[in-house]
């Protein structure tokens, strides 16, 4: 029982670390930066990685990949994460879209796009959610009507990643409203510069946009050759894409200790006359609980990586880290403002930077509880697929989409 890499993995990690030490520093960025500049920096770093064979880690060699395992890719990711590199933007295309196309699509669909995706010359938007279709994505209403050798798209997507800077998108559209909502969806790829597409950035509650957009479709003509799989395969393909995203969500910053530090520092800096807040018992309890959860999630990730190294297939338990720490962060951000009293909601003092981090956490944690699977969806998955409890009762499985009550309600 240990945290050591196996000898071959240790060799690999050392290889990655030394390559990164020699190559990564000039490509580091000072976050936050304007998106357009981040895209430029992304392309530079991605092209550089591509020349060394690290750009599309798990792809087959014939497409310029390394043919590496998911686990080896995580090792690289771990090492890459030690630098401030622009790695967020290409993730969707390389790790989600192209693997999906390689599984369900035809070579004439993915071959022309593979090379430029690998080097981030093409940036992909992941466009599944709609205003009325979030956790239940099978409720998607974006209409795709066949017209000769094209489909004509009308409707709206939302929470589309990187739409404003993307060249291509993968999306779900309803091709047959006369069958059940699960069976009438189809998967397409489309050129984001097609006429009739309008992109509006989503401004978050704290005032900034974070790379997610609304996308409006008005008579957008999509070649029928860009249908992935068959009509009606949409939901199956979507679920498969989603499963590829499983392990990545927990590696993001919400699991790291970075959110603990400003709260911990404030608890030491703020005094109530004589006593530091950290010396008060209720504050210590909450800090300890938070710290134990952070360490628990880090150690759980080590256990999951152990399973991956053995080639085990991981399930919804990989979302535990996000669920636990998003909730804990939201509570702790509010609790920290409590110690400060009225000053907790006003940034003025020598601890302004830490307080700003707490304010940001207060806003962003609310989103972490929703994005990449809401708390409730994750609990359902754990209950049903890990514990083996019965599934929820569905009333929308055998009813044609256009006869569903939810559809009728929308029409009025």
């Amino acid at each position: 029982m240990n945290f050591d890499d196996s000898p071959p993995d240790a060799l690999l990690r050392a290889e990655f670390a030394s390559w990164l030490a020699a190559n990564a520093p000039p490509f580091q960025i000072d976050a936050p930066m304007p998106r357009a500049e981040e895209v430029k920096a992304t392309r530079a770093w991605q092209a550089h990685k591509a020349r060394a064979g690290y750009a599309a880690f798990t792809w087959a060699k014939e497409f310029g990949g390394r043919g590496g395992t998911q686990y080896q890719w995580l090792l690289f990711n771990d090492e890459e994460g030690k630098y401030r590199l622009p790695v967020d933007i290409p993730h969707g295309g390389i790790d989600l879209v192209l693997p999906t196309l390689m599984k369900f699509g035809r070579p004439d669909q993915y071959r022309p796009l593979a090379e430029s995706t690998r080097t981030a010359q093409i940036i992909w938007a992941i466009s599944f959610s709609e205003p009325g279709a979030g956790s239940d994505v099978s409720a998607a209403r974006l209409k795709a009507v066949r017209d000769g050798d094209h489909y004509v798209f009308n409707g709206q997507k939302t929470w589309t990643s990187w739409a404003k800077f993307s060249d291509w998108a993968i999306t779900l559209a309803r091709t047959d409203p006369g069958v059940s909502k699960q069976k009438g969806l189809s998967c397409f790829i489309l050129d984001m510069r097609s006429p009739g597409i309008e992109v509006r950035p989503i401004r978050y509650m704290e005032g900034e946009a974070h790379g997610f957009d609304e996308v409006f479709f008005t008579d957008v003509r999509v070649p029928a050759a860009q249908l992935i799989g068959k009509e009606g395969d949409g939901l199956k393909i979507f679920l498969s894409t989603l499963s590829l995203d499983r392990f990545t969500t927990t590696s993001h910053r919400e699991i790291s200790a970075v959110n603990f530090e400003p709260i911990f520092r404030l608890s030491k800096a703020i005094t109530d006359g004589q006593t530091r807040r950290i010396d008060e018992r209720d504050v210590r309890q909450r800090l300890a609980d938070y710290y134990c959860d952070i360490r628990g999630v880090q150690n759980l990730r080590a256990r999951h990586m152990t399973g991956m190294a053995r080639g085990e297939d991981l399930g919804p338990e990989t979302a535990i880290g996000k669920l636990v720490l998003a909730n804990r962060l939201q509570e702790m951000a509010a609790f920290t403002m409590d110690w400060l009293g009225p000053a907790g909601v006003a940034s003025e003092a020598d601890y302004a930077a830490d307080l700003a981090a707490v304010h940001e956490a207060y806003f962003m944690s609310a989103g972490y509880r929703i994005g990449a699977g809401t708390d409730e969806i994750i609990r359902n998955s754990i209950g049903e697929r890990v514990l083996g409890l019965p599934p929820d009762i569905r009333t929308d499985k055998d009813v044609p989409f256009n006869e569903l009550r939810e559809t009728a309600a929308k029409r009025q």
């Binding site: 196996s6 959860d293 636990v324 209950g383 083996g388 409890l389």
Partner: protein, 373 residues
């Protein structure tokens, strides 16, 4: 990355799990709580001794198997799963560990084989009534004689020897002493306990003969309780995992409003939360096992996070097990209260979660000040 049981550990866990399945069904636990078998199950204790389990971690020259501490962790998990009514925690994870680490050569030769066979039961006596992790210690030793009292002493009714914390001069930190309990100068009184499968006693000392051990300050005593806390975390994780299994089985079998109650999100999500807490607790426990086995690691922090997470997980699992059973869960007849009792017993046995949290944050605070220079 290999944060999981090795094949060897798995096989040992299977062996002891099988033994416990055969000899420690829930009926055995109930015999103790019904009062038809006193204090602990003699048959199971004998078997554990005869098969060498009680000496699993003992060095070979003292009659043991010299297995790594991680094996004891696996054993603790299985004992926790079975709610085993035997004094392993007091005798093996505390007394024997202390004699091994802080005993003289002659003390080891004398006591380790006896503790390893189960012929002698040992225990650890720190508290004198309510208290935190560094409780007030009034018991004192003068001319190798012990005066004062200890309460509650786990398994104090049946123990043959005790490791007792006592001071030698006013104001000094306590040290640990070995006391044989069958001698004039020792009297004991059984206490009514929340979990009768884990009995406790009040011990009074009026000039009992003691032998000194090499643990002579709080740092040494905390090292003892840190190690025990990691073993205990495995016991808690084992109990929690079993409680969750029982809760899931019931939620799948019990129908209400026309369907199994586990299909309702109100139940499903609670049990998912139990599963999540157990996963975190198991992860921190594995980290603790690694720390036990790896010199130079931060054992105090490892022990704190293992203990706090495990306490929280078992507590939640036991509560939800009872709750999912509805009214039946409240009855003597159901087994839910066995978990409900044991989880609370283990939650405070080595000091309450609040005190461990307090200690954890104190350590982090000190470490951050050292780093800041």
């Amino acid at each position: 990355m290999n944060l999981d049981d090795t094949e060897e550990q798995k096989s040992i866990k299977e062996q002891i799990g099988k033994l416990l399945q055969e000899q420690c069904g829930i009926a055995v636990v109930r015999r103790v709580i019904e009062g038809t078998a006193p204090d602990y199950d003699r048959q199971l204790w004998r078997s554990l001794g005869e098969l060498g389990w009680l000496a699993a971690g003992t060095p070979e020259q003292y009659g043991g198997m010299a297995l790594d501490p991680v094996f004891l962790c696996g054993m603790a998990e299985e004992l926790g799963r079975a709610l085993a009514p035997v004094p392993v925690a007091s005798s093996v994870f505390l007394a024997a560990q202390i004699v091994r680490e802080h005993g003289s050569e002659s003390q080891r030769q004398k006591f380790l084989p006896l503790l390893g066979s189960g012929a002698t039961i040992g225990t650890f006596a720190l508290w004198e009534g309510p208290g935190g992790l560094r409780p007030h210690v009034a018991a004192h030793v003068r001319d190798s004689k012990l005066y004062g009292f200890k309460s509650p002493v786990p398994d104090g009714v049946v123990a043959d020897i005790a490791v007792v914390a006592a001071v030698t001069e006013a104001g000094s930190e306590p040290a640990l002493f070995l006391v044989e309990l069958d001698q004039p100068g020792v009297s004991r009184r059984p206490l009514h306990t929340l979990d009768p499968t884990r009995p406790a006693a009040r011990l009074e000392f009026s000039g009992a003969r003691v032998e000194a051990l090499t643990a002579t300050d709080w740092t040494a005593i905390e090292r003892v309780t840190d190690r025990a806390a990691i073993f205990c975390a495995f016991e808690q994780v084992g109990g929690a995992a079993r409680a969750l299994e029982e809760a899931v089985a019931y939620a799948n079998a019990r129908y209400a409003f026309g369907r199994p109650i586990g299909g309702f999100q109100a139940i499903k999500h609670r049990l998912a939360d139990v599963c999540i807490q157990i996963e975190l607790a198991r992860s921190n426990a594995y980290h603790g096992a690694w720390a036990l086995n790896t010199p130079g690691t931060d054992l105090p922090v490892a022990a704190c996070i293992a203990r706090i997470s495990a306490t929280r997980a078992f507590e939640l699992a036991a509560r939800e097990l009872l709750h999912v059973h509805g009214g039946f869960g409240m009855t003597w007849e159901s087994d839910c209260h066995l978990f409900y009792r044991r989880s609370r017993h283990l939650a405070v046995g080595l000091g309450g979660a609040g005190d461990w949290s307090d200690r954890l944050v104190g350590i982090l605070d000190r470490q951050s000040r050292v780093q800041a220079g």
